[in-house]
């Protein structure tokens, strides 16, 4: 049954000609049509285009083409510019924007034969941890608490991507992660997602939030599917000066390496008194699985972890305040006219940006202002180097770190919206990886007492995603996570 396919099994079925890409694509378009009104995971669905791509893929498959993603239907986070297809970044200000170019990451996927179903909903400009800041309405998590039908958030900012994969609306999706935007929604939606090393995927053509932190990566049903997707997305791009000129290894093969003999670090600073006991329990369980699989568990210290969130919320808004200056109504996107240039800017930006984006632009402008720059931005950069040093030090002793992905399971739609600080706290475990540029992956490890998925996070050395995949795969194998969300295509 198509709804049971993973990306890897769908690929095998396509290559064996057991199913066609058009059949797959029709299935997912049907599922989107049925469930998207409820989940709001897609901002734009490109059905005709997808079917044309699928038909082309079938023709290529018939002629023996073995493209890594040939015929595989995917959802694309609406932060990736797609040529000829509206790209909104979840914002009103880009609602009319149709890019005349294709981002490097999506171009790589198309090169390998992928089929794009449409553009996934997201927090506006990737700023948010609940997908509630989208100008196109919130995404609803396909999971609900046992015996409680109240809608929950899918996490953010890649909430549409995660919900689409979890609900069976796509075999995988692109996502981006600036402070946890891949890993936290993956955890909330019971799927896998990896933020690779900064520089592994090109940022060219990805609408920028915070340039020194933004990194693209995949979300998918399992670890291997993520490895296959990342293998296509990644690669050096001379158009991005921060892209790393390092060969892309065979990530899928790395999933099968096992963890025997690996040293797994457990950072003591990730344990806090107010962390729910269920999360502590699933963490311990994950460490137990790894020990059983032959890994050595080592307590380590990352002493500057406690400053991670505070420094993140200086660095990211600072960069965002500058990156978002180009949305001025002059050359593209939405414009609200005014009597002079200043009024044009003010009206365009007041109408075009939502409250959270405006808040972060103001925070960022403030921390970069004369007189505050040293106290905030410079100090944050210093702490950032200390956070990186923490990781460098522990990675001299251990091969990977394992922590919870988020301090809670999915919460209710509309909760925490009145308290931005509480919302920011969602990112507490994920932000340090962005600050240090290291790879981090979330893998489903179990359910909490209310029946909601919880993820564990695996952190690795820079450009050592292979070890991250191996550890995540070991957790996935041991967890045997088979629970399904209450809203899912194909029942």
């Amino acid at each position: 049954m198509i709804s049971d396919f993973t990306l890897a099994s769908a690929r095998a079925a396509l290559r064996a000609r057991d199913v066609s890409s058009v059949e797959l694509t029709q299935h997912f378009l049907g599922a989107i049509e049925a469930l998207n009104p409820q989940l709001n995971a897609f901002i734009t669905v490109t059905g005709e285009r997808a079917l044309a791509q699928a038909a082309a893929a079938d023709a290529a498959l018939a002629s023996g083409d073995q493209g890594a993603l040939l015929g595989i239907p995917l959802a694309i986070k609406d932060l990736f510019c797609t040529e000829g297809v509206r790209t909104t970044a979840g914002s009103r200000i880009l609602s009319p924007f149709v890019p005349p170019y294709e981002s490097t990451v999506t171009a790589n996927l198309l090169r390998d034969g992928a089929v794009f179903l449409g553009k996934a909903n997201m927090d506006e400009f990737a700023m948010g941890s609940s997908n509630a800041t989208s100008a196109f309405g919130p995404v609803v998590n396909p999971w609900t608490r046992t015996g409680d039908n109240r809608p929950l958030v899918p996490g953010g900012s890649s909430g549409g991507s995660a919900a689409a994969v979890a609900a069976g609306l796509a075999l995988g999706a692109t996502a981006t992660d600036t402070g946890g935007s891949i890993r936290q929604p993956a955890s909330f939606c019971g799927i896998a997602g990896i933020k690779p090393t900064y520089g592994r995927c090109s940022r060219w053509g990805v609408v920028a939030f915070a340039s020194s932190l933004d990194q693209a990566g995949p979300v998918a049903r399992n670890v291997e599917d993520c490895a296959i997707l990342l293998g296509s997305m990644a690669g050096y791009d001379p158009k991005d000066s921060t892209s790393a000129n390092i060969a892309v290894p065979d990530f899928a093969a790395a999933c099968r390496r096992g963890v025997k003999g690996l040293r797994i670090g457990v950072p003591r600073e990730y344990r806090s008194d107010d962390m729910p006991p269920e999360i502590e329990a699933i963490w311990q369980q994950g460490l137990g699985w790894l020990r059983d699989a032959g890994a050595e568990i080592v307590d380590v210290s990352l002493p500057h972890t406690k400053y991670g969130l505070a420094t993140y919320y200086i660095v990211a808004p600072a960069e965002a305040s500058s990156n978002l200056a180009r949305y001025d109504g002059v050359r593209f996107g939405a414009r609200s006219n005014g009597e002079d240039l200043t009024a044009l800017y003010e009206n365009t930006r007041a109408d075009g940006f939502g409250a959270e984006v405006q808040r972060r632009i103001m925070i960022g402008t403030y921390v970069l202002s004369a007189g505050y720059y040293d106290a905030y931005y410079i100090r944050a950069q210093k702490i950032r180097s200390l956070i990186l040093k923490d990781f460098t030090d522990v990675f001299a002793r251990v091969d990977a770190l394992v922590t919870p992905t988020a301090p809670s399971a999915a919460f209710g739609l509309g909760d925490r919206l009145d308290d931005p600080i509480k919302m920011y706290f969602n990112d507490v475990f994920t932000v340090p990886a962005n600050m240090a540029g290291i790879p981090g992956m979330s893998v489903p490890a179990g359910l909490d007492a209310q029946g909601l998925p919880l993820g564990l996070q695996v952190l690795g050395r820079p450009f050592d995603e292979e070890t991250v995949f191996a550890v995540a795969q070991a957790i996935e194998d041991a967890a045997g996570f088979v629970a399904k969300p209450s809203v899912r295509a194909g029942g």
């Binding site: 510019c81 790209t87 970044a89 880009l94 924007f97 890019p99 005349p100 170019y101 981002s103 940022r203 060219w204 053509g205 990805v206 609408v207 920028a208 915070a210 340039s211 020194s212 001379p238 158009k239 991005d240 000066s241 921060t242 600072a318 960069e319 305040s321 500058s322 200056a325 180009r326 001025d328 002059v330 050359r331 593209f332 240039l341 800017y345 402008t365 970069l368 202002s369 004369a370 720059y373 931005y377």
Partner: protein, 483 residues
């Protein structure tokens, strides 16, 4: 003698520092592959990066970096092997990204020095504080439509070098000499064409005044002055304005001003209170710029001979005066022209012809030395005709004028006009005899001791020979016949 301005309260010293924006000669922009040619149709040289489309990223153009390093080397400046690009944030319609990528805290070039030459023959060392790379903005056109502003992004992203001087300049003349010298160096290096009319070289002029021995007083910055003459005028009128403010009991406020060349005044553009907070921070889209010292040495080895070195060589090797040497090296094509003419010939004669007759002719015909009607080879051929005594110096001037008019070769002109010098002593003797015979009284006066009449006789003989007599032979003959 130091330049001062006399006010009612005594002498004032003028303190000037210059920030020169020099457009880098490069095929592509600083961070995009778009072309940089001047005068292209509006918005025809704009990439998605220059227009700051979502997700577009800057990629540093290595040639622009090389040009900045060459310039730094040419200014005898420190090359910083480690530099960085920062964002300077402000909103304007012709600044698509809302920030200019510049180098704020860590410029690519540090302290250097420029030696300027003044009219009285003296020289002064003017310190260069720094040189950094930055992007140019686009252009807002306010005069194309009654109610709209048009924006041309062709210049958006073009590489500029901002070259900042120390406040070492003390007069309008020095300010002019500084820009002239800097422009000369840039042109020698081939790093900026120095064309001020097209805006490839523009100066922001910082001016303050003070009494002798005082610390610096408040300065004002006069933005975007686009000719050397205006730089000099701006310094003078701004200094006078400030002196008046101080002497009237007021206080000069730090502000940005504009030079109005039509009125010959400066006027306020924005005060310090309205100054932007540019919120500089390191551009996270770009890596730190790390230069390989070996690469810098490769560039150093390939530098051309620069004006100062060339001037010293012209003085030493050709025995020219410092002044003539300075004039000849100011522009590379002039120096090249001179060296072509002087090769194997009398260098002083060559210098005199170039700085006198040739410059006069170029001025008169509004032409540059690159499209001179008289090529260096032709002028050389003319000098050869003088030195082999085919023509004399006076006839040479006549031939030269015709060369300017017609572009013809000097020997052809001499041939066609029969201007060949007369060296036949019997013809000269005959002419001398005729002149003496026609002026018996003057001959008698000369013989009775009125030596000054010698020149009269020579002149009359030359006149009778239509200027073609060999001057030495004519002299000899006059002396012999009258003696």
């Amino acid at each position: 003698m130091a330049y001062t301005i006399e006010g009612n309260s005594g002498s004032w010293e003028v303190v000037v520092g210059l920030e020169v924006h020099a457009q880098v000669i490069s095929k592509a922009k600083l961070f995009s592959g778009a072309a940089t040619a001047f005068g292209a149709a509006p918005n025809s040289q704009v990439s998605l990066v220059d227009a700051a489309f979502p997700g577009m990223l800057p990629v540093l153009n290595g040639e622009c970096v090389a040009q900045a390093v060459r310039t730094g080397l040419g200014l005898n400046a420190e090359i910083h092997l480690h530099s960085r690009f920062d964002r300077k944030n402000y909103f304007y319609a012709d600044l698509p990204s809302g920030y200019q990528i510049s180098q704020y805290e860590h410029p690519i070039v540090g302290k250097g020095v420029i030696e300027i030459e003044l009219a009285d023959g003296s020289t002064r060392q003017i310190g260069v504080t720094r040189l950094h790379l930055e992007q140019d903005a686009g252009k807002s056109l306010h005069d194309q439509h009654p109610t709209k502003t048009f924006v041309d992004l062709n210049r958006s992203g073009v590489a500029l070098m901002e070259i900042v001087s120390e406040p070492d300049i003390r007069s309008p003349e020095e300010a002019g000499a500084y820009v002239r010298k800097l422009r000369s160096i840039l042109r020698y290096l081939g790093t900026c064409d120095g064309n001020m009319e097209e805006g490839s070289l523009r100066a922001d002029v910082n001016v303050s005044v003070r009494k002798a021995g005082e610390p610096y007083r408040t300065r004002c910055e006069i933005k975007n002055v686009n000719s050397i003459r205006f730089v000099m005028q701006a310094v003078e009128v701004e200094a006078l304005r400030q002196i008046k403010v101080w002497e009237d009991g007021g206080e000069v406020v730090q502000e940005t001003r504009l030079f109005d060349s039509a009125r010959g005044t400066t006027r306020s553009m924005r005060s310090k209170e309205d100054a932007h907070d540019y919120r500089y921070f390191p551009d996270p889209d770009l890596l730190p710029l790390i230069l390989d010292p070996a690469w810098v040495e490769t560039l150093r080895a390939a530098l051309p001979e620069l004006p100062d070195a060339k001037r010293a060589r012209f003085i030493d090797a050709f025995g020219l005066s410092p002044y003539d040497s300075g004039v000849l090296v100011a522009e590379q094509p002039t120096a090249h022209y001179f060296e072509t003419v002087a090769a194997g010939r009398d260098p002083k004669l060559a210098a005199n012809w170039i700085t006198g007759d040739l410059f006069g002719a170029l001025n008169r015909t509004s032409r540059s030395i690159e499209d001179s009607p008289v090529s260096a080879a032709s002028l050389g051929a003319l000098l050869d005709l003088i030195s082999d005594k085919t023509i004399n110096g006076k006839i040479a001037k006549q031939v030269f004028e015709e060369m300017v008019e017609t572009g013809a070769a000097p020997d052809a002109i001499v041939q066609a006009r029969g201007l060949r010098q007369v060296v036949d002593t019997s013809a000269i003797d005959a002419a001398v005899d005729a002149v003496i015979a026609a002026n018996p009284d003057k001959a008698a006066e000369y013989r009775s001791g009125k030596d000054k009449l010698f020149g009269f006789f020579v002149g009359q003989v030359m006149k009778a020979m239509a200027g073609k007599g060999n001057p030495a032979l004519v002299n000899d003959a006059v002396k012999a016949k009258l003696g």
